[in-house]
């Protein structure tokens, strides 16, 4: 959100009256990332979200390793146990007797993995596309951005469904399919930033020094885009996770016995009448992950997005 509490402008120290004590210039104290980290740390919600996400990541890495149960073995003598502290199944078991805690943690692994991997794909494409279009300008820019405009009108949900249905339901295909359709926003934002970076003195200086074309984009443009890229990566991850969950919910994503949070919500929705926890546990976890990414992304945007300052 662009309107927030007015922040102290760090450049104000430059306007300190003569004679005022000069602040000790510790190395790196004015760097972009240092200031950004300080601004982020001031936002308690974003920090809390990051901590919760960290706990979830650690839990979903460790719990399946150390749990005596696995996600696929069915125990027909322990069917649909409700969550309880005694008996070894803290979150209960599903109708096939599989431990819900381990399954839900595998679901987190899949959801987070897909979210991060597909976001990386979309960022790679988006940054490359946007930076080249913005730096090249002219006809190249016009054609590349026209292509983005056309793709904006393509109904992607049907296309991804078709892709996953027709070419098998493999995990890597889901990464690629989702990544390939979610790069448009990033390409537009990166292009806009590149257009303004191109006018800066340091780019001009590099050009005078003989740097051109691809080297300029790699060495001087892209590193200066990292701020907004980090922000939009954080905001892309939850949409990607939602999209994977949506595909899994329709039965087009991860295939049984492997679980993703989306497929567990789908299974749980069918069983919610006698066993509501089968729906509630994965649904809550999925929502918490997405809420945390949204808060973290909002916080990062306030801390890093140069257009907000």
């Amino acid at each position: 959100m662009s309107i927030g509490v007015p922040r102290e402008d760090p450049s104000d120290t430059m306007a300190a009256p003569p004679g005022a004590p000069i602040a000790p210039a510790t190395a790196g104290s004015g760097s972009f990332w240092y200031l950004a980290a300080r601004r982020l740390a001031a936002q308690r919600l974003a920090v809390a979200a990051a901590i919760v996400l960290g706990i979830i990541v650690i839990a979903c890495v460790l719990i399946p390793i150390y749990s005596p149960y696995d996600y696929y073995t069915t125990h027909l003598d322990e069917i649909a146990r409700s969550p309880s502290w005694v008996g070894g199944h803290i979150l209960g078991t599903d109708p096939l007797g599989r431990d819900m805690l381990v399954r839900v943690m595998w679901g987190c692994r899949i959801s987070l993995g897909v979210g991060v991997a597909a976001s990386l794909v979309s960022i790679l494409i988006g940054v490359a596309w946007g930076a080249v279009a913005g730096y090249a300008g002219g006809l190249v820019d016009g054609l590349m951005m026209r292509a983005v405009d056309i793709l904006y009108s393509v109904p992607f949900v049907p296309f991804v469904i078709v892709l996953t249905v027709l070419f098998g339901r493999e995990l890597w295909l889901i990464f690629v399919a989702i990544g390939a359709v979610s790069w448009l926003d990033i390409a537009r934002i990166v292009r806009g930033e590149t257009l303004s970076l191109k006018q800066r003195e340091f780019v001009e200086a590099a050009r005078v020094a003989g740097v051109r074309g691809s080297a300029m984009i790699r060495r001087h443009i892209v590193p200066n885009l990292m701020g907004i890229v980090v922000v939009y990566a954080t905001l892309t991850i939850p949409t990607v996770i939602l999209f994977e969950a949506f595909l899994s919910f329709l039965g087009l994503g991860v295939q049984s016995p492997m679980a993703s949070l989306g497929s567990m919500v789908s299974d749980g929705a069918g069983e919610m009448q006698p066993h509501p926890y089968l729906l509630v546990v994965p649904a809550v976890l999925l929502s918490v992950i997405i809420i945390c990414f949204n808060y973290l992304g909002d916080g990062l945007r306030d801390a890093l997005d140069p257009r907000d300052r």
Binding site: M1, S2, I3, I150, S153, V154, P155, V157, P158, F159, I161, V162, L163, V165, L166, F167, P238, L242, A245, F246, F249, L250, L252, G262, V265, S266, G268, A269, M272, Q273, P276, L279, A283, L286, S287, I290, I291, N294, Y295
Partner: protein, 307 residues
């Protein structure tokens, strides 16, 4: 205005061509065809079927034939629902999607707008935080989590509303699907309205209105509201298209006979023409509503110049 509209309509043709071409070649590149089934079909019968649907022709010819039919508004016969055309299936399903989608849109605008303006006016108070936390929740909760919970509470526990199915003209069958579909959009509209209201309330003409002694209510309704609506309009085009295409999950959960549900089964059955038809239709809807939104934008805000 007319020239602009015409130019945009002409500009939509290559976009649609891209969509149709992508859909066509993607589907034909896929392994497996609509008539592979567990039952072995005798070869001469298979040949007859393929000749009937022109599947024995070279791919290029099939493509041109498809584009020709598309240009005349004919989406072709369904491969799976025999003796039914895609046009008939769409004509049956689209009114359902339109009813649910537009109801959800109305809910999103009214409720989301009210929440957003309220939060903006009571900015940085407890109210604002509560409302905006709810909005983040609304954006983060997926439809397929909300919908089963709504069914659990309002249909199974309370018996207030039916859990699904569709009866034409029945309001009670409309409520749950429309609310489930609307919730994320309510949250979205609320956040946008809050941001744009705060921005407008900080502008000089509002200070003038306050300075001349107008009561706050009048300032809000008579002066502030209209400019806050302009960013909403550019959001409306994509939102309407999203509501119509995004209803796939809602249709699956509530068992509504809309085109989204047909789409998933069609893709699973490799019903090429039905999949392509619905994809192209979605493309047309997205383009049409975006154009409509841009036109409304220029109509409401005379400062906008159409190029």
């Amino acid at each position: 205005m007319l020239r602009y509209t015409l130019r945009r309509l002409v500009g939509a043709i290559p976009t649609l061509l891209v969509i149709a071409t992508l859909a066509f070649f993607l589907l034909h590149a896929a392994p497996g065809g609509p008539f592979d089934s567990a039952k072995r079909i005798p070869p001469d019968i298979l040949q007859n079927i393929q000749a009937r649907y022109h599947l024995d022709e070279p791919l290029g010819l099939q493509y041109l034939r498809y584009l020709g039919n598309l240009a005349r508004g004919d989406l072709g016969p369904s491969y799976v629902y025999r003796s039914t055309s895609v046009n008939q299936i769409v004509a049956q399903g689209l009114p359902v999607d339109a009813t649910v989608g537009l109801t959800a849109l109305a809910l999103a605008l009214l409720i989301g707008g009210a929440i957003g303006v309220n939060a903006a006016v009571r900015r940085s108070t407890g109210w604002d935080y509560v409302l905006m936390t709810l909005a983040v929740l609304g954006i983060s909760l997926p439809v397929f989590v909300i919908a089963p919970l709504l069914i659990l509470v309002f249909a199974i526990d309370l018996h207030w509303l039916p859990a699904g199915d569709w009866v034409v003209g029945s309001l009670s069958h409309l409520v749950l699907p429309a609310v489930a579909l609307a919730l994320p959009y309510i949250a979205y509209v609320a956040r946008m309205m809050r941001a744009s209201t705060i921005e407008v309330l900080a502008s000089p003409f509002i200070r003038t209105a306050q300075a001349k002694g107008l009561p706050p209510r009048l300032v809000l309704w008579r002066h502030a509201l209209r400019p806050t609506l302009t960013p909403m309009i550019s959001f409306l085009g994509p939102a309407i298209a999203g509501l119509i295409t995004g209803s796939i999950v809602v249709e699956t959960i509530f068992g509504l006979p809309g085109i989204g549900r047909y789409f998933v089964t069609a893709a699973l059955n490799r019903d090429y023409t039905l999949v392509m038809g619905i994809t192209v239709l979605y493309g047309v809807l997205i383009i049409a509503f975006n154009l409509l939104a841009d036109l409304c934008y220029a109509w409401i805000d005379p400062r906008v110049r159409l190029r």
